[in-house]
């Protein structure tokens, strides 16, 4: 599964993209975030406060209970500030 990071989530994680093999018992976004947090302190810091994290799957906004498929493109980013 492709996981992308943008803005300060990208700078805190330290890179823009990961390829993640989702464990069988992980089925939703919340579970994926737990897997990422366990990858290291940079991830744990970036994903500490989920109030400041937005999630998109295949270019649509989703909530934390959204079910994931291995072919999904997941993106994690802060609230947007364009316009």
């Amino acid at each position: 599964m492709k996981v992308l990071y943008f803005a300060w989530l990208r700078t805190r994680v330290g890179h823009a993209e990961d390829a993640i093999d989702l464990p069988k018992n992980v089925t939703d976004v919340r579970g994926l975030i737990e897997v990422l947090r366990a990858k290291g302190p940079n991830y744990a810091t970036a994903l500490k406060d989920l109030n400041t994290v937005r999630v998109a799957v295949n270019h649509d906004y989703v909530k934390l209970d959204h079910s994931l498929k291995p072919t999904d493109e997941v993106a994690l980013f802060p609230p947007v500030t364009g316009g």
Partner: protein, 159 residues
């Protein structure tokens, strides 16, 4: 119609192109967003707009489609830039055209309010103190929230 681009745009030329040969359009409203040189009391040297290619276009197209569902628009256009911008540079253009002005005014305001809270862009401001990611504004969320009600339930001025 939506466009995401690094290059500058000419609002006048965009409006002219959108309305050329259209006798059904009674009015055109446009909004142009420009980079300010101040963030609070900090002087901004430059701003870099990061975005999420693919999702940006999809979200802008959905917002544009929603505007066209809510109001009887004859034409609409959203152009949003990304990359490095300097104070005074144009960032975003919204143009709406309709037979009567109310729809064009309301839809233009709706488009800029919604894209500010939905289109995946992030501003990195460069100041003398260093570079900082701009925080999302509560004001922007409030501005977007007022459009949550269906358009038919909002009071409409007589045309």
């Amino acid at each position: 119609m939506i466009r995401v681009q690094r290059e500058d745009f000419d609002p006048g030329a965009e409006i002219a192109a959108l309305t050329r040969g259209r006798a059904d359009i009674g009015g055109v409203v446009s909004f142009t967003g420009i980079v300010r040189d101040l963030a609070g009391d900090r002087k901004i040297g430059a701003m870099t707009l990061e975005h999420y290619p693919g999702m940006t276009e999809k979200q802008l197209a959905e917002i544009d489609a929603e505007a066209n569902r809510r109001w009887p628009l004859a034409a609409s256009l959203v152009v949003h830039r990304y990359g490095k911008l300097l104070p005074g540079d144009r960032i975003v253009l919204v143009v709406t055209a309709s037979p009567h002005r109310d729809a064009a005014f309301d839809a233009c305001r709706f488009l800029i309010d919604w894209l500010k809270t939905r289109a995946p862009f992030w501003k990195l401001e460069e100041t003398e103190a260093g570079a900082d990611w701009v925080k999302a504004q509560a004001d922007d969320n409030a501005a977007a929230a007022r459009w949550e009600k269906p358009a038919s339930k909002r009071p409409r001025a007589a045309e």
